[in-house]
Symmetry: C2
Subunit: 337 residues, 2 copies
DNA sequence: CTGTTAGCGCCTTCAG
DNA sequence: CTGAAGGCGCTAACAG
């Protein structure tokens, strides 16, 4: 394990100056092709890798973009990240990815560290417990542009890319209403979480808009948003009668369907179920889960494109993009009459 | 968007030397607490972030570990990465994560770039199309220790962390045999992929070991390993009669179950199904999918611990660890008699 | 307790 | 076409 070769090593060995080596390596026009050949050959032989740290110090750029997400194990975030990566790697950027685990302190720490690393831009989806945006403001003051995606921090002025959560939820409930469902239940997520709140108010407003009665007993606020939480919430719900169930996401819907089937309900004949997210496996349940698809990969691409724009053009224009979700009809919901 | 403040800015403003500022910032003992206070206060006011690039150049370390995986959207790899991250972030390392998309050229390029970035270590799970290991050897020659995980490159000498794939598959088939299944089919993955080969030979050997006849017509080699591939493979298989089905992974098993149910087969009464991977949603199918669980998070933790060991201790000892998978019994397989 | 000096590896003027 | 010099921001001797 030798220490890496440097430009100087090559220069000495060839009895030329470091600058010449540098230029040769970078294929500078004003270097004889002969010298270039010599240099490149030796570089190869010495297994020379240019020291990006040094170059970055000089150029004052790191070639790195920071991504801060609540977690990476979900289909949702891992797909967003893939979208980001496909865009930024095509222009030579690398990604530093960190998870907050929905922990605000962790988020602050991570953003801080990324600022120290001199990432050239920051793509962040704030944790559910994020309070305020001083940490992001700090980064920006340090010259690091920030793009928020998927989750908002109201009041923080930056480019943002979201999905129209309200619209998705509204579409789902509207469908159930139009399909003739009378008592539509809702398993909601934890209420302090904006995106879940939106899904709930879309549910409520849709019912209102269509002059349906709103039965408070048909709304269950789950403590989490995993399949297990769906199981638990649905068991509570069983004391009520209902013919449709709109769940805060697919995982919860899967858990709920599991319970319903076990209790002998037929889906969708007895109860229609709709989820949210269109997880990759949702189509393989029986019945296939009707759900809301979101342009996840696109969200990654778009946010990173916007970020790259502000990095390269140094223009401080702020862009806000709202992507549209789509209702994906499968067999877990009754067909329209 | 000002340019970031430097130590020199602080030094000038306070009329002291840069070194003093540096020391104060790093809480060096031989600096008066008064100076420290002044410095820290001003640093705060200027929103000073130490330039890690400069520090790294000096210290010849980047504080970054490179992770190269085929993809990050699967439960498998995203969980491994989480394990890695939990370990390395606790000692202050950052992660650069890249995906090869099973493309060998991409893998070579990524490893190369990471070497240039001077990552301090490399955790790699090679693509299915990786030929040889010169690229990894290069990295190691550049002083970057490499740990392979999940997938092997035979002949490459390094620390490695794998799961005993053969053992998992053998457990699955053994269970089916002992449960009395007579005609056990297998949907295999693409045959050039070692891990899938192993699953198949475990299947074959288990049958042999228990003196069961091996019906070649009950083995289908799928072209891929997604749920859709499972659907397709299973449809081909339907021309045969069988009472058990061991699938190369959960996704394929999910697809296969989907087909079987549609064709009116009862699972497990007519056909037992076993998958491989224990995806998070596999327990929510009806019936719940019997499968092989692998210590995925642990694999991430262990590989990164080994890597950190070789980084810090500079000891070149090579460790090979084989983790044990476990059979998870659910309702998709008939119970033992 | 603090300042001076030198240098990490590279690139980019400015001179030849 | 090539060389010399300076500096990116920081730290670690070495001197006071």
């Amino acid at each position: 394990m030798e220490k890496p070769a440097t430009i100087i090593d090559i220069a000495k060995a060839l009895n030329i100056s470091p600058s010449t080596v540098s230029r040769a390596l970078n294929n500078h026009p004003s270097i004889s092709s002969q010298t270039k050949e010599q240099v490149n050959e030796l570089a190869n032989k010495l297994n020379y890798h240019p020291n990006l740290t040094a170059r970055n110090l000089l150029k004052k750029k790191s070639g790195i973009i920071g991504v801060v997400v609540p977690e990476i194990t979900s289909y949702f975030f891992s797909t967003v990240i893939t979208g980001i990566q496909d865009v930024v790697s095509s222009v030579g950027y690398k990604l530093i990815i960190s998870q907050t685990n929905e922990n605000f302190d962790e988020e602050k720490k991570l953003i801080h560290e990324m600022a120290q690393m001199r990432v050239e831009g920051l793509l962040v989806s704030p944790s559910f417990n994020t309070q305020g945006f001083e940490h992001l403001e700090d980064a920006r003051k340090a010259g690091i542009p920030v793009v928020l995606f998927d989750r908002d921090i109201p009041g923080f002025e930056s480019s943002k890319v979201f999905v129209d959560v309200y619209d998705g939820a509204y579409q789902a409930v509207k469908y159930l209403i139009e399909a003739g469902c009378q008592r539509i239940a809702h398993i909601a997520g934890p209420e302090h979480i904006p995106t879940f709140q939106e899904r709930m108010s879309a549910y409520q407003n849709a019912l209102k808009d269509y002059n349906r009665e709103l039965y408070p007993e048909l709304i269950i606020k789950s403590t989490g948003f995993s399949a297990e939480d769906g199981v638990e919430a649905c068991e509570h719900l069983l004391s009520q009668s209902f013919d449709a169930l709109f769940c805060v996401n697919d995982a919860v819907a899967i858990g709920a369907m599991h319970v319903l089937r076990e209790k002998g309900y037929k889906i969708p004949e007895d109860i229609s179920v709709i989820g949210y997210d269109d997880e990759p496996y949702s189509c393989y349940f029986s019945p296939g889960l009707t759900t809301i698809w979101q342009p996840v990969y696109d969200m990654g691409m778009l946010s990173s494109k916007i970020l790259l724009d502000t990095i390269t053009k140094e223009k401080q224009t702020i862009r806000k993009e709202i992507l549209k979700p789509e209702l994906v009809l499968r067999q877990s919901s009754v067909p329209l009459n």
